[in-house]
Structure formats: structure tokens, C-alpha cells
């Protein structure tokens, strides 16, 4: 299945350096936190887009190859790391599996593409931007452990849930970026 991207860029048939040149340009029109899908056929684009993303600070989420077309998913760097976390109820990465086993639910608020390239087995995916419209999928009596990559989006999501009357909400820190446990890629 194809993954959700905010902006798509066609670099099929282009040789190095064009996929990077075009990606760099396209990123100007992508907002922070949004996902750019780059379609390329040049195999060299894998190592180069990864290394380029790292050097700029964008998040290279992953790639899928199908019928000779490589789809790269890159999330534009937000200021994920700097912002202060405000939501007070937190638990750690290490605690979350045991807590969830006792009847809670892990809510992953990263984008669908990020979730697709690796998430905690059994976690529920609702990207941050869709949360407000999908509150009815959540149970107010259940403990909800909100997780994202660095704890920033989950902090905002937890605040949002609290506003809407959810009380048993916890932000999971430091988040999937530091996750050492097993990862599932099932959607």
C-alpha cells in the first residue's frame, strides 16, 4: 500500500545529482513536520538522501522499492528537540510495555509513514493532525500512553486529550527515537 505523504516529488529517471537537487528545492515548499515522498529510480539516491537528510537535520524515515521505483519518505525538520514539554504526567520508554499489558493503550501520534517503518506492536496509530477528529476512537476509562519520536508531538497530543476531558493520559519519554525494543512494521 502507498503511504501518506504531504508532498510528492517525481525524480524517476534522473541520475545523481538531480534527485538531491530537486529534493532540496522541493523542501522549501514543505512545512515543518510534513512528509515529502521522493520517487527515484537511481539506486545511489538511497545512501545520498539519507546522508543529505542527516546533514540538514531532516528525518529520513525510510524507503520502499517496488517495480524499480524507490519511494523515499522524509519528514522536514521541525523544532522537535528544543521545545519544552508541558504535560506533567509522563512515563518512560522502559515502563510502557508493562503498563500497556495491564489494559492501557499505546497511542502513536507520529505520521503514518513513520509508524509504517517501525512501531511498537499493538500500538494504535492516530497522527497528531487527525487526533481532534478521531477522539471517538479512544476510551476515556482506559489509560492512554501517547508516544511520538521525541516526546514533543506526544506532549501536545496529551494536552489536547486532557482539554477534551481525558484524565488517564501519559506522555511517553523519550519516545520512539530512542526505542530499543522490538519494532513492528505491520499496518
Amino acid at each position: 500500500m502507498s503511504l501518506k505523504a504531504d508532498v510528492q516529488l517525481d525524480c524517476k529517471g534522473l541520475a545523481c545529482p538531480m534527485p538531491i537537487v530537486k529534493t532540496k528545492k522541493a523542501m522549501n515548499d514543505v512545512s515543518d513536520g510534513q512528509i515529502l515522498e521522493v520517487q527515484a529510480t537511481d539506486k545511489g539516491s538511497i545512501a545520498d538522501l539519507k546522508a543529505w537528510s542527516e546533514s540538514i537535520g531532516h528525518q529520513y524515515i525510510g524507503n520502499k522499492e517496488e517495480d524499480g521505483v524507490i519511494r523515499h519518505y522524509i519528514r522536514k525538520s521541525g523544532d522537535d528537540h528544543e521545545s519544552e514539554k508541558k504535560f506533567e504526567q509522563t512515563i518512560t520508554n522502559e515502563e510502557v510495555i508493562d503498563r500497556a499489558a495491564n489494559g492501557g493503550i499505546i497511542l502513536d501520534v507520529r505520521e503514518q509513514a513513520e509508524y509504517a517503518f517501525g512501531h511498537i506492536e499493538g500500538s494504535k496509530s492516530i497522527p497528531m493532525g487527525e487526533l481532534e477528529d478521531r477522539l471517538d476512537e479512544l476510551d476515556k476509562d482506559q489509560e492512554i500512553y501517547v508516544i511520538c519520536r521525541t516526546g514533543t508531538r506526544s506532549d501536545l497530543a496529551a494536552q489536547k486529550l486532557a482539554e477534551k476531558g481525558f484524565t488517564k493520559v501519559y506522555n511517553v519519554l523519550p519516545g520512539m527515537g530512542s526505542w530499543n525494543g522490538d519494532l513492528s512494521k505491520k499496518l
Binding site: 545523481c16 538531491i20 545511489g44 545512501a47
Partner: protein
Amino acid sequence: MTVIKMTAAEVARKVIENKELFILDVRNKDAFEDWKIEGHSFDYLNIPYFDLLDGVDEILPKLPTDKDVLVVCAKEGSSLMVAEMVSEAGRDVFYLEGGMKSWSAYLEPIKVGNLTGGGELYQFVRLGKGCLSYMVISEGEAAIIDAVRFTEVFTNFAKEKNVEIKHVFDTHLHADHISGGRHIAEATGATYYLPPKDAEEVVFDYTPLEDGLTVKVGASQIEVGALYSPGHTIGSTSFIVDSKYLLTGDILFIDSIGRPDLAGLAEDWVGDLRETLYRRYRELAEDLIVLPAHFMIIEELNEDGTVAKRLGDLFAENHGLNIESEEEFRHTVTDNLPPQPNAYEQIRQVNMGKITPDNDEQTEMEIGPNRCAVR
């Protein structure tokens, strides 16, 4: 200022003639650290091209003005882009035609020496990958040993020399590069030989290369004799050419020895490797000139660009031939081995005829250094 194309052949001459060159390698850092163009007198700057998209002003002071500057990338496109930027900033600059891809493919034929009755022995040095192939020429006939996959280089060279290729050998089933031996034999009607113990899974016909087999090349009967020398693989076989040269395949190199693990059987073959290097080779004349199938570092090249050294000198100088304790030898060749060559399992499959990748896929498999040795 101008952007000038430099070919892999021109770079090869600079390596062999010990010339200076400044290489601006614009591939990403991992690729550069793994594998680059090696020269005795080359200097390097590695900045990925994607860090230069906004301009080259920052690196200009680092580029020398008293020697040639060559921009290198994987396939050419990025080096051309960067070279144009450097040129616009007012500097003369070269780019490598075809990038590292063409460097990996380039073969420089160098004459090793004369053989009895007017024959000649050539070494084909693949500088970018460290592979060495050989052609024995004598009175209208030729034998080829360990040919790499660029078969036309060999068939064209034979045409140029006006000789007919009669025998094609592989010293063993290669794991680091794709052999051209079988295809040369098919194209020329030559006999293709492979050690049967390495060939148990191959899916094509071949002539068994057994210990003691000799073939004669040309009217003056240059003798190419096989010597079973297992250890890198179970079938590995050496050749003695004209009682003068010892072609060691991947068993013995100039500054290192073969590794026994590329077919997955390091523990089983370490005894064979020891036996070959410490007993069989010891029985040979010390004046034989060793010609290996690989070199690993540029220091192994002689002044004329060949890779060759007297066997007696290797007994004295090569660390791998001077490990007295068997236990320590075992440890050296089975523990702490360098990383295995890129795609070595797939390359073995290709050399067994089990898979037939297209040219681009073959190029991709052979990217990087050969890594067949233990130092």
C-alpha cells in the same frame, strides 16, 4: 576557467608514474571511507556534493593551485556539477569521466617480462578494484588466467597481439569479483578450466583443473603447470609459468595472505592454507616471481606498476609466511577478519552460473575494494 575531462586511463598513468593529483571526492563520507582512488602521491578532500549545492566558496581555499584538481563522484553527474561550480569561481578543474564506476572497470595491461622463445607475460592491473589478471603469449597463442568480467579488454588485446586465445583458467571460484573466464572461452572457442572442488555447484561445462595438469602455449611450448594449493577455497590452484613465474591466485599476496572464510569454511580450510603456504610453496624455487590475483594497498605496486615479487623475498618479508605457531596462524586467519567483500555471496552465485544479473547489477555488486586478504 575550464572544466576538463580526465579518463580512468589517464588517472591510472598518474598512479603508475607516481604523479601528484588532488582529488576532490564528492561522494558521501561512508562511500569515500570505504573505497577511493589510491595513488602514491595523491591528496584528498571529501565533501559530499549535496553539501556544495549552495556554492563552493568554502572549499576554494582548500583546493591547491599548483597541481591538478580532479573532482570524483560515483557516476560522473555530481562531479561535473561541482567541477562547473569550481570553474565558475575561476579555477581550472578536471572531472573523472564515468566516475568511480569507470575507475572500478579500468584495466591497465603491463608487461611483466619475456618468456622463453620470444613469449611475453602481461599483467592486467585493475587499479580501482585491486584485481590482477594475466595473459601468457607465445607464438600466436595465448592463455589467460583469472580474467575479470571486461572480456573485450582481453579479446581486443589478443587481437592487437595477433594471438589466438586457447586456454582460459580461473585459479578458484572468485568471491570478490565476477569472472570473465567462461565468457571469453565461449567467445573464442578456448578451453575453460576451473578446479573441480570449487565447481561442485556450477551449472555450466568446464574442463577440470587438476594438480599437475600442464598446457603448452605456442610453438615454443611455454609451459603453464597447475599446482594444487588449497586454503582460500578448497579448490584453489596455483600456476607455474615457464619455470619462472608463480601465479598464486588468492592464496599468497605481496603483503598479505589469502583469507579462508569467503566460502564460509574458515575453520575447515585453515589447515589447508597453512599446508600450502608453509610446505608446498616452501618446496618451490625461491627465485620464482610471485604474481597474485590481487593487491590490497597501493604500496604493493612496483615502480613500473606491476604487482610482482620474488618468492624468496616474500618468505623473508611477508608477515603471513612468518607465523611460527600454528595456533597463532589459526587465530590470525580466522579471528578479526576484515569485512567481507561487497555482495560476495551473490558474486559466487554469478560465477557458478546460477544467476545472470545485467551489466548495471554486476557493476553494483562489484562496488568497493576486494578484501580477499589477511594481513
